[in-house]
């Protein structure tokens, strides 16, 4: 059975990974960010008991340290994510507006260029025709007589 290169291209056409792929991927990426942050964090050293029990409250067990750090990180992450989302939307809006403006300028320039070349064409032919008429006065007289 024969197949063509087009058949192969058809068989190997790009496929959509399906609904939710982007969200699942981003979830993994965000999870990795949190894990990385946790892995890089270190438990605070145990506070010296300078005044005995007075300072003891801020000596946390490592597990709790991790939990507190994770909660803080998550809170910062969510806040930061929302802020960056807003900033991204703003920057995209400005970029789109700039692109639109560039597109309009380009179209205006194109129309001007075409009009300018049409004027150049018209004037060039105008001058050439005048010059040609002057070069053949006898033809002109002959035509007038006819």
């Amino acid at each position: 059975m024969h197949f063509s290169e087009d058949d192969l291209r058809e068989a190997l056409k790009r496929k959509d990974p399906g609904e939710g792929f982007t969200q699942r991927t981003m979830a993994r990426v965000n999870q990795a960010r949190v894990n990385q942050a946790l892995a890089e964090g270190t438990a605070p050293p145990a506070a010296k008991k300078v005044n005995g029990k007075f300072l003891a409250w801020w000596t946390l067990r490592p597990a709790w340290t991790v939990v507190v750090a994770a909660v803080l990180l998550l809170a910062c992450g969510i806040g930061g994510y929302q802020y960056s989302e807003y900033r991204h939307a703003e920057e995209m809006r400005i970029a789109r507006a700039k692109q639109q403006q560039l597109q309009q300028e380009a179209e205006r320039a194109r129309d001007q260029a075409i009009m300018a070349l049409e004027i150049a064409r018209a004037k060039l032919n105008h001058v050439l025709q005048h010059a040609q008429l002057q070069a053949e006065p006898s033809d002109k007289v002959r035509r007038q007589r006819l």
Partner: protein, 190 residues
């Protein structure tokens, strides 16, 4: 209003710059832009949807961790193809998938054009699955991604002449594999 290629490139450059700075939304845009390509390379190589999705996610995870090394949208495309190909080879070696696939395990049929024979396309995918890894990737890069031999050589880190001979050999093997499949089907029926 026609969107020119230059404006599209500007949009991707902007998303890349923002993603490097840590903008999650921008990174998501990049994922959405390239997920089809990455997933398809993995899927056509592994012939398994869930494995392909896993692999694709890992590629994007790796991208996230090394985003600052990406210089441009074109570099990003090249990087994604190269990393996906390398991971496919690693995965392929792990799973020892160099075996014949039974008809029941055939991948889901592609949405084919009216002129293409769906059975043919299915057989082609099955035959592709038994090619050696490098050959399979060369075929995928050529016919899925539309890359030329020089580009394939760059992505797969092979000499250009090797790419050309590999492609030639792969197509010959695909034809042989396809003929064998047809004989098996005929034998099953008769």
């Amino acid at each position: 209003m026609e969107q020119t290629a230059a404006f599209e490139d500007d949009r991707l450059k902007l998303a890349l710059n923002l993603a490097v700075k840590g903008d999650g939304q921008a990174f998501e845009d990049l994922v959405r832009e390239h997920q089809g390509m990455v997933f398809s390379i993995a899927y056509h190589f592994l012939q398994d949807r869930s494995l392909a999705e896993d692999l694709a996610q890992e590629v994007f995870l790796e991208l996230f961790q090394t985003l600052d090394r990406i210089q441009s949208p074109a570099h990003l495309t090249y990087w994604l193809r190269r990393v996906t190909a390398n991971r496919c080879i690693d995965q392929g070696r792990k799973k020892h998938r160099r075996r014949e696939m039974a008809l029941e395990e055939a991948p889901e049929p592609v949405a084919s054009s009216p002129s293409a024979d769906p059975m043919l396309l299915e057989r082609l995918q099955q035959s592709l699955a038994v090619l050696p890894e490098k050959q399979r990737l060369v075929v995928i890069m050529r016919f899925q991604e539309g890359l030329g031999p020089a580009e394939i050589a760059e992505v797969l880190e092979m000499p250009v002449n090797t790419v050309k001979s590999t492609l030639h050999r792969s197509l010959a093997e695909l034809r042989k594999g396809l003929a064998r499949k047809i004989r098996e089907v005929r034998y099953a029926f008769f």
